[in-house]
């Protein structure tokens, strides 16, 4: 899905620079003309703009409560301004380093093990000759992506419990039973491996599409030159999908600090906070359970800002190193 976002950003840049070049008349007059000429189209667009203003931009405006001591009775504007107090409190909090570390480590594990998995799957599927087998494999590997997170996490908790299937199987090898989800040292392993299980098939779509885009004549040339399958993989296939891999990696790295809330929230418990508590779950607990709205909003804003800066840094590095970037 990320790739769609990437293509959109690129085409927008192109088209915006074109329109700038063409606009020579007074922009206000041009705008008025545009509005009257296309009244109908803008009316159709109005509810959409309204949606984005209310549900996306208003919360952005509301994020200022991070600098205030927000109370519902006083409202966003009326609440007392306290500057960076919430941020300072967060940086000095006992759990500050723990949740930062957990977020980064969980994310890094997920990239190191989860990023190559769909690429490998796509390459293996691509080597299969029978189209029926290919199609069936694809269909079945996409399936976990569509099952609800609640069901997936329910299954994980159930299978890894003391009397669950995983322990039953380990018992055959004489391993004593463990309640895996109560042990902090198992949390990351289980999170990452089940994440691969859920997303590997779906993630491989984009690479399979890139693989079909490779010029078939290159393979024929390889055959003429007597290059084997392995040689073809190294000299034709991998360079062919390299741009896709790089873009996906940039987008993935840009989300390093942005770990989703839902799965962790369903899997963790107070025994595993040591490795499982991440920024987003901390925001959730502080804000919606302890009701420290401003403090929690400050943590959330800090996280968004870091994510944003991180994406820009990763993008710039990538532009310098291999001339592929989002913008």
């Amino acid at each position: 899905m990320n790739i769609i976002f990437f293509l959109e950003v690129q085409s927008l840049q192109k088209s915006v620079s074109v329109t700038k070049f063409k606009n020579k008349t007074n922009p206000l007059i041009a705008l008025k003309k545009d509005l009257t000429l296309n009244k109908c189209a803008y009316l159709m667009l109005a509810p959409v703009i309204l949606y984005y203003l209310i549900f996306q931009y208003f919360p952005l405006y509301g994020a200022q409560i991070a600098f205030k001591d927000f109370e519902f009775s006083r409202g966003i504007i009326g609440s007392k301004f306290i500057g960076f107090e919430n941020f300072v409190e967060f940086f000095n909090a006992f759990y500050f380093w723990r949740i930062i570390r957990n977020t980064i480590v969980l994310s890094l594990y997920n990239i190191v093990f989860g990023f190559p998995a769909p690429i490998i799957l796509a390459l293996l599927i691509n080597e299969v000759k029978s189209t029926t087998f290919k199609r069936i494999t694809q269909t079945l590997t996409y399936l976990p992506h569509f099952i609800s997170m609640v069901v997936i996490c329910g299954l994980i908790l159930d299978f890894t419990s003391r009397g669950g299937v995983v322990n039953d199987l380990l018992h055959l090898f004489g391993v004593p039973p463990t309640a895996f989800m109560l042990e902090p040292q198992w949390f990351r392993t289980i999170y990452v491996s089940t994440d691969i299980w859920q997303q590997v098939g779906w993630g491989s779509i984009i690479y399979l599409a890139a693989l079909t885009g490779i010029n078939q004549e290159l393979y024929e040339a390889c055959n003429v030159d007597g290059a084997g399958r392995w040689k073809q993989l190294i000299t034709v296939t991998l360079p062919g999908i390299a741009p896709t891999i790089i873009i996906m990696l940039i987008l993935r790295m840009g989300k390093l600090m942005d770990v989703g809330l839902e799965k962790v929230m369903l899997l963790y418990n107070s025994n595993t906070y040591e490795t499982a508590d991440i920024i987003s779950t901390f925001v959730y607990r502080k804000g919606l359970i302890d009701m420290s709205y401003s403090y929690s909003a400050a943590v959330g804003l800090f996280n968004s800002a870091i994510c944003f800066v991180f994406l820009i840094i990763v993008n710039n590095i990538s532009r310098r190193v291999n001339e592929t970037s989002l913008w």
Partner: protein, 294 residues
């Protein structure tokens, strides 16, 4: 062209197939286990340990228990209502937005699009959104579930790209005949985009069916809970509680509930599995519609 394959290539092909079959089994087996367990006799299942290759003495007791549970039936009903209202709002806004943003004549469309794409990079976050919903008095109402996620920007972009790929000449000839944007949208664009629209309905539908988080923070009264929240109580909260308290799964009641749990999962997942063949036929196409362009 006939080419002799070397021994190593043949070996690779075999291992590749074996590996892929093995992966597929890992992907699918957990679900098969759930189906087998749900159809098993509760008492026999409780004594059993390890994998299941077929139901242990076929029994529908667990399903009976699931359909006797008023919470699950009520959750089902609520989810269907949220799904219908939610997906209708999703589709109305997404198609309208995608079509008007695909019109090249709109001078401001790129700036509006930039504003929309920006929200994918940066948003207000959980708490400011919660405060907004509370100030709008949406708490504990269907609007808290359907409106905040009314448009998925990703889907909007996919739809817009697909509208852009419809030849402009069709639109021009309709315009010469005096049709305005709304007429073109309803009479030309929608009928020509049925495949993408069905993909979108399925995407949004699956998303609405599976959604639980907004419901869990915005809904207060239990009779309004969607199915996923009831499932969360049964699957997550109960098992976490029993794990934490170390309750032994030995008394008869929890034996029954073990298979009921699996039957609940099946009941809650069957609708997805029913649309899955359709979904899977169209969705790669739908995803690629968004990706293929200049």
């Amino acid at each position: 062209m006939l080419k002799r394959r070397s021994v190593s290539e043949i070996t690779f092909d075999y291992f590749n197939i074996i590996f892929l079959v093995f992966s597929v089994v890992i992907m699918i087996y957990p679900f098969l286990y759930v189906v087998f367990a749900s159809l098993s006799d509760p008492a026999r299942f409780a004594e059993h340990s390890g994998l299941l290759l077929s139901p242990l003495s076929l029994s529908f007791d667990s399903y009976k228990a699931v359909f006797d549970n008023p919470n699950i039936l009520n959750g089902y009903k609520n989810t269907l209502v949220y799904l219908l209202v939610g997906t209708t709002i999703n589709m109305a806004l997404t198609t309208l937005g995608a079509y008007s943003l695909s019109l090249r004549k709109l001078k401001m469309r790129n700036y509006i699009m930039m504003g929309i794409v920006f929200t994918m990079l940066f948003n207000g976050g959980l708490i400011p959104t919660y405060i907004l919903i509370k100030n709008l008095h949406f708490i504990d109402s269907i609007w808290a579930i359907t409106l905040p996620s009314a448009i998925s920007t990703m889907n909007l972009i996919i739809m817009r790209t697909s509208f852009q790929s419809i030849p402009a000449s069709l639109e021009e000839s309709a315009r010469i005949d005096g049709a305005n944007d709304l007429v073109i949208f309803a009479r030309i664009m929608i009928p020509l985009s049925i495949p993408v629209i069905s993909v979108m309905i399925l995407f949004y539908g699956v998303g609405n069916w599976n959604a639980w988080f907004n419901a869990s923070i915005y809904l207060r009264s239990r009779e309004k809970y969607p199915l996923q929240l009831i499932l969360r109580e049964i699957l997550i909260q109960n098992s976490t509680d029993s794990m934490m308290t170390g309750a032994a799964a030995s008394d008869d009641k929890s034996l029954v509930s073990e298979t009921i749990k699996y039957a609940t999962i099946v009941v809650a997942t069957v609708p997805i599995l029913m649309v899955y063949p359709m979904l899977q036929k169209y969705f790669v196409k739908g995803v690629m519609v968004g990706a293929i362009k200049g």
